[in-house]
């Protein structure tokens, strides 16, 4: 479960509101797609829910743990795939995964189980002994995905996870996201690929200029707006608001 209560993030001394009074609740066992145009506040929202940025106002709960009050416990609850990989380029993939497993205090049995499963799923078994700086963008993305799952988090947060992935990996990722929520856990991801969001998400949220302008099941939202596709709905809402 994820809950945002009146969360606001301001920049330029309060003149710009990147996220404006965001209220949002996502139940467990759901895949939630977070949509919005460029600069709408998606990444800022994700950064706040992962503890990277401090909200100026409001509270965020992850699995009933208030992020600002008990950040360490809250951070144990999620695994996070950022939109860029700007870290530990000199490590090998295996060193990176083990480093993460140590930080999340994952048992040897569990780390082996998770690594075996996901390295095979994303076809990184051979590359995992290589230095990360020799990886392609897609390989780095896959490594981040595996790293985010090493501790079997309750909430899986992904920022633009499809970027750079080959079709097979994208398919595997979508299946894993679906399987993940079916086991009662929550998947929260941002994307610009509306076809994927339409087929994969149980719920979507659309954010524009920091404000949540729509939230609900894709089919219901489309019906309400008389839109044939999620793309139509997205364009209607974002252009209408503009």
């Amino acid at each position: 479960m994820i809950r945002f209560e009146h969360v606001t993030k301001k920049y330029a001394g309060g003149a710009v509101k990147a996220v404006d009074d965001l209220c949002l609740e996502i139940d467990g066992g759901k895949v939630f797609g977070f949509l919005g145009p460029n600069g709408a506040g998606k990444t800022t929202t994700i950064k706040m829910m992962t503890g990277i940025l401090n909200p100026d106002e409001g509270q965020i709960w992850l699995e009933n743990i208030e992020l600002l009050k008990d950040p360490i416990q809250a951070k144990r609850m999620f695994g996070f795939v950022p939109d860029t990989f700007e870290m530990f380029e000199r490590l090998t993939g295996m060193e990176y995964l083990r480093f993460l497993a140590d930080l999340y205090q994952v048992s040897e049995a569990q780390r082996k189980e998770q690594m075996d499963k996901y390295l095979a799923m994303f076809e990184l078994e051979n590359a995992v002994q290589q230095q990360i700086r020799s990886y392609s963008h897609g390989m780095k993305q896959k490594l981040q995905i595996i790293g985010s799952l090493i501790h079997k988090p309750q909430i899986w947060i992904l920022d633009e996870p499809m970027v750079g992935l080959d079709p097979a990996s994208m398919h595997a990722l979508k299946q894993e996201m679906r399987a993940y929520c079916e086991s009662g856990k929550t998947v929260f991801f941002s994307t610009h690929v509306l076809d994927v969001a339409e087929r994969l998400c149980d719920e979507i949220g659309i954010i524009r200029q920091g404000k949540l302008i729509a939230k609900g099941e894709p089919e219901k939202l489309m019906k309400l707006d008389s839109a044939a596709t999620l793309e139509d709905l997205f364009l209607n809402l974002t252009e209408k608001e503009a």
Binding site: K47, T50, G51, I52, L53, N54, P71, I72, Q73, A74, K75, R76, F78, F80, P82, T84, E86, M87, F88, R90, T92, M94, E95, R98, F99, A101, D102, L103, Y104, Q105, V106, S107, E108, R111, N126, A127, Q129, Q130, Q131, R133, S134
Partner: protein, 557 residues
Amino acid sequence: MLPYLKLLIRQRIASWNPFSHSSKSRSKVKTVLGYIGFALLAVMLYGMLAILEYFMYGAFDQLGEPQTMLALTGVLCTLLTVITSFFYIFNELFFSKDVLFVSALPISSRALLSAKLIRIWLGEAGIALAICLPVLLLYGIGQGMGVFYYTNAILLTLMIPMVPIAVVTVLSFLLIRVSALWKRREALTVIMGMLFLMAFMWAEMQLSMSSSEKDMNVVMLQLVLKQRQVLDLFAGLYPPIHWFTEALTGSGMTAALLWVGFAALNLAALGLVVTILGGAYQRLAIRQSEALTRMNAAAKKRVTKQGARSPLVALYRRELREIFIVPIYAMNSLTGAIMFPVIAAAMVFGAGSGASELALLPMAMALLPKALIAAIVTGVLAFTNSMNMAVSTAVSREGKRHEFYRTLPVQPQIQLLAKLLMGLTINLICALPMAILLFFLLPAFQWQIAIGFFASLLFSTGTAIASLMVDVNHPKFGWKSETEAIKQNGFAALSMFGAMGLIALAAGLYYGLTWLGVSSAGALAILCAVMLLADVLLVLRLVGATSRRYILQEVTI
């Protein structure tokens, strides 16, 4: 070739523009002030060089052979180009980021090498001219030379770096071709960098200890006589340096022929390198760029075993490893481990006339209170540790990675403690070689050295915590290169000077206490107790308010 050469030159000129590096978070005033500071430092260093050259020229003039000073500066430029440009040329030719990009452009391999070498030569020629200029002017004015001399002098000086660049280029090709060293480029850079630093320190010590006289003229005369031997040896190995001097100072057909000979040799050296190696250059550079992939392919078979670790140990290992695997971090963090042992060793083993005086040092020290020796050792080792940039940049070095650390379910206290432990380990690595050396050099004072060693750790722990706290409060996350993270970090430099200031303050307090009648041992004990208390208080602050501030720091670029 010309468009590519123009691009290279334009890039280099753009890199001098202070505002091309400034980030949004850095004000223009700060950028300008930073550059003014840098310019002042450069002027100061150049002034020191000019003064040294002035005195040496005077000494040679006294001997009646001022032209020898011209030869000496020529030798200096030649050797400096070989030594200092080695890594520059090596990197520029085989490790520059544009190798693959340029490969896709319609430029021939020879044209590519030519453009790169011309760019390198332009830079080195500028440096050579700057080094030679004071001597060229002194000679020109002293001998009443005309415009022809000055034109000649500039032209010939600009040509000096050509042969060294050609030699280094050949060496780089050989190194890349015949060895597997490129696979361990970073380790090689660290080792060569350390060796260079050691050689530099050794040479500096030799220079500074070449005379015990205080009279500058006598010092210079002694130095000049020493340099003559070096010059004769070098001129024997590299005769063109005589052609350079004769072409500059002589007249008539001989001088003209030597001028042509010197110019032809230098131009031919670069030309030959381009002709012979140019064809293979691009292929070799591309092959080198694939070295990492090939090395990684071999790494598949390697099986590494590792058990589960606590977050503190995992973070500590990561912090420490980063220092050793990133050359620029290693060079800046481990300076103390090299600098002082080399100075001490140079004093003892290579001081020549100074050695006899140093041999008296243990006897002189026997006259001092033993506790004072422990205090001196404490000060020296604490000073060694004050140069540790590893801990004072530990937060800044995270860069954008700080966002990752913020998402971890690890207490910020643990994260900062891992950084502190890394810093203390580096302190230990820096202080230990010096302590061991002193242990053997001064066997009569082994207890005092041991006490001094442990007392110095009390001091350096305090300064390490303080510098880490400064970095938490003023992190520099917005760096683009690792050099920026550690070398161009104003607050880290401030921390270093602060630590040195603290040592000076402690020395003052020690003196004050003994002046008030406290025994030497008592004064040292009081200072250690104060530092221990300060360490405890600083640790409490670090794991308290500072760690909260650390985890709330946002990456703003």
